[in-house]
C-alpha cells in the first residue's frame, strides 16, 4: 500500500476547494478555527509523507543498510523509489522547512515588537490613541492586548461606530485571531498548495470580529456603517496603496454586505453545506489514515529487514 504515501501530498488539491466552499456556510468563528486547524493538519501530514518518501529513498543506500543492520538492496516489500522521486522529496522538504522557519522568525519578531511596544506603555489601558490624522485601527496582541487607533479614525466615526470599532478589535484580541492567522500562514509556507486558504481565513476572522461588534452595539446596520466609513476614511486619507489597485470587489464590501444581511445563526443549514462538510471530514480522515499507514508500513518493513539480516548473520 505504498501509494498511500502520495495521498497526503495530493490531498490539498481536493481539500482546499472543499474547505473554501464550506467556510461561508459556517458561523465565522467556527469557519476560522476549521480553516486554521485544517491548514495545520494538511501541512503536517504532507510534511510527514515527504519524510516517509525520503526515508524510503534513503533505505536503498547500501551504506545505510550496513549501519541500520538490514540486507542491502532495499527494504522487503518497499517498492524501489526512483532516485528522481527521492531527490524531489528531499528538495520539497528542504524548501518547505526553510520557508516555514523563515516565516516563523519573521512572525516572532513582529510579535516581540508588539509585546515590547505594549510593555513600553505607562499603564494597562486598553485603548492607545496615536495622534495621527490618517485613519488607522489595529489590535495589538500582548499582555494585556491593546487597541491602537489614530485620532484621525476616532474623528471619522460617530459614537456607535466608535463602539463597534472597539468591540471589533477587542474580539480579535479575545479570540487570539493572530494565532490562527500565524498558524495557517506557517502551514502555507510549508505547503504552498494551502496558500488559497489564507484569504478565506482572514475573511472569516474579520467576519467573526464584525459579528462581535454588531452584537455589542446591538444594531447590525450601525456595525456595517462603522466598517464602511472606516474603510472609506482610510481610503481617502492614505495615499494610493499598491495592494489597492487590484480589480474586483474585495473583502470590505463583502463584510459590509454580510452585516446588512440577517445574522449567520439564522442562515439555513442546507443539504449542500452538510454534504461539503462530510466531504471535508472524509478527506482529512483519509489523509491522516494514509499517513499513519505509510509510517507504520515503513516501520514494520525496517523491522522485518533487520530481523532477516540478524538471521543471515
Amino acid at each position: 500500500m505504498y501509494f498511500a504515501v502520495h495521498l497526503p501530498l495530493l490531498l490539498p488539491l481536493a481539500a482546499v476547494p472543499a474547505l473554501r466552499a464550506l467556510a461561508p456556510h459556517l458561523a465565522p468563528h467556527r469557519a476560522a478555527w476549521m480553516l486554521a486547524g485544517a491548514a495545520v493538519l494538511l501541512a503536517a501530514i504532507s510534511t510527514l509523507a515527504l519524510l516517509v518518501l525520503v526515508a524510503m529513498g534513503v533505505s536503498e543506500v547500501p551504506l545505510l543498510a550496513v549501519l541500520g543492520h538490514y540486507t542491502p538492496g532495499g527494504l522487503p516489500g518497499v517498492p524501489g523509489t526512483a532516485p528522481l522521486t527521492a531527490c524531489a522529496a528531499v528538495a520539497a522538504l528542504a524548501v518547505g522547512l526553510s520557508r516555514t522557519v523563515r516565516r516563523a522568525a519573521l512572525h516572532s519578531r513582529g510579535l516581540s515588537d508588539a509585546l515590547s511596544y505594549g510593555r513600553g506603555l505607562a499603564d494597562d489601558r486598553e485603548l492607545v490613541v496615536l495622534p495621527d490624522r490618517s485613519p488607522l485601527a489595529y489590535a495589538l496582541p500582548g499582555r494585556p492586548g491593546r487597541i491602537v487607533v489614530s485620532s484621525g479614525m476616532l474623528h471619522a466615526l460617530d459614537p456607535a461606530e466608535r463602539r463597534a470599532l472597539l468591540a471589533h478589535e477587542r474580539a480579535h484580541l479575545a479570540g487570539h485571531h493572530h494565532v490562527l492567522l500565524i498558524a495557517a500562514e506557517l502551514a502555507a509556507a510549508a505547503n504552498p498548495l494551502l496558500h488559497r486558504l489564507l484569504p478565506v481565513l482572514s475573511y472569516a476572522v474579520e467576519r467573526s470580529a464584525d459579528e462581535a461588534a454588531a452584537a455589542e452595539v446591538g444594531d447590525r446596520t450601525k456595525a456595517a456603517h462603522a466598517v464602511a466609513r472606516a474603510a472609506l476614511a482610510a481610503h481617502a486619507g492614505g495615499g494610493p496603496h499598491p495592494a489597492a489597485l487590484h480589480a474586483g470587489t474585495g473583502p470590505v464590501p463583502q463584510r459590509v454586505a454580510a452585516l446588512l444581511a440577517p445574522p449567520p445563526a439564522r442562515m439555513p443549514n442546507t443539504h449542500t453545506s452538510r454534504a461539503v462538510a462530510v466531504v471535508v471530514a472524509g478527506l482529512l480522515a483519509l489523509g491522516i489514515g494514509a499517513c499513519v499507514e505509510s509510517v507504520v508500513d515503513l516501520h514494520s518493513a525496517v523491522e522485518t529487514a533487520q530481523a532477516a539480516y540478524g538471521e543471515s548473520d
Binding site: 512572525h107 513582529g110 513600553g120 505607562a122 485603548l127 474623528h155 466608535r162 485571531h177 493572530h178
Partner: protein, 129 residues
C-alpha cells in the same frame, strides 16, 4: 442602579470598555468636554454617574487633564504617545506587509470598485439616526 461602570444597565460593558469609549470620544472631539458632553458622545446611553466615574479614574491615571468649566470640570486627553513610543508604533505598522498578520487591522485597503460598492451599500442602508 448604575453606580459602577461594571454594572451599567444600558449595556453589559465593563469598566475598561467604558473607559476606552470615553477616551475615544474625547479624542474624537478634539477639545475639552464636560461629563454631560461626553455622555452624549457615547453610544448606548450610559448613566451620567458612570461617565463621571470613568472620567475621574482616567484623570487619576494621568490619561486625562481637566480644567474648570463653570460648576463642572471639562476633560481633555493627554497626548501621551508623543516621541519615542509613537515612532516605534509607526515603525511597527509600516514594517513589511507580511508582518501585519500579527496586527489585525480594522479595514484592509480598498480598490476603486470597493469604494463604489461601499458607497452604494451605504446609500441603500442609511443609518436610522
Amino acid at each position: 442602579m448604575a453606580r459602577d461602570g461594571s454594572d451599567d444597565p444600558a449595556s453589559r460593558r465593563g469598566r475598561g470598555e467604558l473607559e476606552s469609549e470615553v477616551l475615544g470620544a474625547l479624542w474624537a472631539a478634539g477639545g475639552p468636554l464636560t461629563p454631560g458632553e461626553v455622555q452624549r458622545r457615547i453610544s448606548g446611553d450610559p448613566a451620567y454617574s458612570t461617565v463621571v466615574t470613568a472620567l475621574s479614574r482616567l484623570f487619576e491615571k494621568g490619561t486625562l487633564t481637566r480644567v474648570r468649566s463653570g460648576r463642572a470640570y471639562a476633560y481633555a486627553p493627554v497626548a501621551d504617545e508623543p516621541g519615542l513610543a509613537a515612532r516605534r508604533m509607526r515603525q511597527l505598522l509600516d514594517a513589511e506587509a507580511d508582518r501585519h498578520i500579527v496586527l489585525a487591522r480594522f479595514v484592509s485597503d480598498l480598490s476603486d470598485d470597493d469604494e463604489q460598492a461601499l458607497l452604494r451599500l451605504l446609500g441603500e442602508h442609511p443609518r436610522a439616526d
